[in-house]
Subunit: 159 residues, 2 copies
């Protein structure tokens, strides 16, 4: 089974694609979609993200898409910009009939490290270890994308 995990943002959308087969989990691909704000309207950047996610779904045929759920406590302006990005991601998933699940940062930390108090560095180190990666993926958004996919696989395995 393939899961696409997505960490949404207007400038950087981190993603991680994990495959679970029997007892084995492996990272199939992980990277980010970057959009530049220079001389571009928001609509252009949203279209780049939509096309990027659309291409990932067409290439990897995920059974699930897992997306980070926003914190209410965050900066409202930034929350609104990220929500616009979430809108086009949910649309891309829907167009391919791929079900979406959402997880809070706390659920993701719990799934990856067993603690809701883990810091970013600890999360990244666990992701590197669990997925047997040669190094911690950069930028942070990529590791976040992988964490979200891993969280969903963890939830699916729970009784």
């Amino acid at each position: 089974m393939i899961v696409l995990g997505i960490d949404p943002g207007l400038a950087t959308v981190g993603y991680g694609i994990l495959e679970q087969s029997g007892g084995t989990m492996r990272a199939v691909a992980y990277d980010c979609i970057r959009t530049s704000g220079k001389g571009k309207e928001t609509g252009e950047r949203l279209e780049e993200i939509f096309c990027g996610i659309d291409a990932l779904i067409s290439t990897y045929h995920p059974s699930w898409i897992a997306v980070e759920k926003l914190f209410f406590s965050r900066n409202v302006t930034s929350a609104m910009a990220v929500s616009e990005v979430r809108g086009v991601i949910l649309l891309a998933a829907q167009r391919h009939h791929v079900p979406v699940r959402e997880y809070t940062p706390n659920q993701i930390k719990m799934a990856v490290t067993g603690s809701g108090k883990a810091d970013k560095r600890q999360m990244q180190e666990m992701i590197r270890r669990l997925l047997k990666l040669p190094a911690i993926p950069k930028p942070d958004d990529v590791a976040d994308g992988l964490s979200i996919a891993l969280c969903h696989l963890h939830v699916l395995r729970e009784p």
Copy 2:
């Protein structure tokens, strides 16, 4: 020139299409796109809205799309849901290469009534009068869609 004004919302997207020709302004169409939350994921509702806006652009070929800009002070959960809707509206506009302009509730009130303090009822009555409509359009979101389109035409006329 045709302007499509949109009042975004997950359950109801109000819209108004105005045509300005010489000194005359007329309402070409005004209605709303409704999506039901019953047994539906957000992605399905966003897709319905995307397809609805896409169809409006294909039918009426607007030169501009005007959308209400969100208040920061509003409820954050609702602001995030409306932002997801805005995301797919901006995407639909971009796919058709129609430029988008955004206006705050205050700018819209100023354009329609000459005062930022106008209440909803006064706004609706002015919309009915200015566009020579037989009655105030219902629900409120439809009158809001028309107000936003009217605001953009007003801004274009200003020296």
